[in-house]
């Protein structure tokens, strides 16, 4: 699974893009985030507040219950501020 981090999520995790092999019990966005939080302090901190992060799966906005799998591209970022 390819995971991308943007804005302060990129800064806090120290990673802009990574390829990870996720365990089988990671089946949706919520379980992916829980798994990432257990990796280390930086991730735990960056992902502590569900309300301040947004997720896209394969470049489409996704809810916490959206399914994710090994071949997916997942992006994690704060609320957008374009325009």
């Amino acid at each position: 699974m390819k995971i991308l981090y943007f804005a302060w999520l990129r800064q806090k995790t120290g990673i802009d893009s990574e390829n990870v092999v996720v365990p089988e019990d990671v089946s949706d966005v919520a379980s992916l985030i829980e798994w990432l939080k257990e990796r280390n302090e930086k991730f735990a901190d960056a992902l502590s507040d569900f309300g301040s992060i947004r997720v896209a799966v394969n470049q489409e906005f996704a809810e916490l219950n959206a399914p994710v799998g090994q071949g997916d591209e997942v992006a994690i970022f704060p609320p957008m501020t374009g325009g």
Partner: protein, 158 residues
């Protein structure tokens, strides 16, 4: 329908001229240019860096432009959005829509810019002398502006 996501500046006159060129069905063109603002004072802005999600950005801009073209009878439409490091006075975004009728041009242009503020995968990092670097937070007023367009749908459906 044109979408451009680029680091370089754009020429407003050229972009707008190309949009209406040779299409005599166009009676009105509405456009909006967003600029890096610096209100000065204690937190005077040095620069603003726009980060985006390459691939998803273009895809979403194309999708929202297609939606504007479904909602309004447009003859032409354009979104140009920059990324990278910008300074006060620099252009950030250009949105333009053209139609036989001025109201369609105005409404669709407002729709696109409201949408861009809340749904396009861009993030702004501000650099100021006093506060250092700070990510711009999403504004509730921008969400409300974008939600207007959903309310219109619901009212029409009721």
């Amino acid at each position: 329908m044109v979408v451009k996501v680029q680091a370089e500046d754009f020429d407003v006159g050229e972009e707008l001229a190309a949009l209406t060129e040779g299409n005599w069905a166009i009676g009105g063109m509405s456009s909006f240019v967003g600029l890096v603002r610096d209100l000065g004072g204690a937190n005077a802005l040095k620069a603003m860096t726009l980060e985006h999600y390459p691939g998803m950005t273009e895809k979403m801009l194309r999708a929202i432009e297609a939606e504007a073209n479904e909602r309004w009878p447009l003859e032409a439409s354009l979104i140009v959005h920059r990324y990278g490091r910008l300074e006060p006075g620099d252009r950030i975004v250009l949105v333009a829509t053209a139609s036989a009728h001025r109201q369609a041009a105005f409404d669709s242009c407002a729709f696109l810019i409201d949408w861009l503020k809340t749904k396009a995968p861009f993030w702004k990092l501000e650099e100021t002398d006093n506060l250092g670097e700070r990510w711009v937070e999403a504004k509730q007023s921008d969400d409300q502006a974008a939600d207007r367009w959903n309310r219109h749908d619901r009212e029409a459906a009721e």
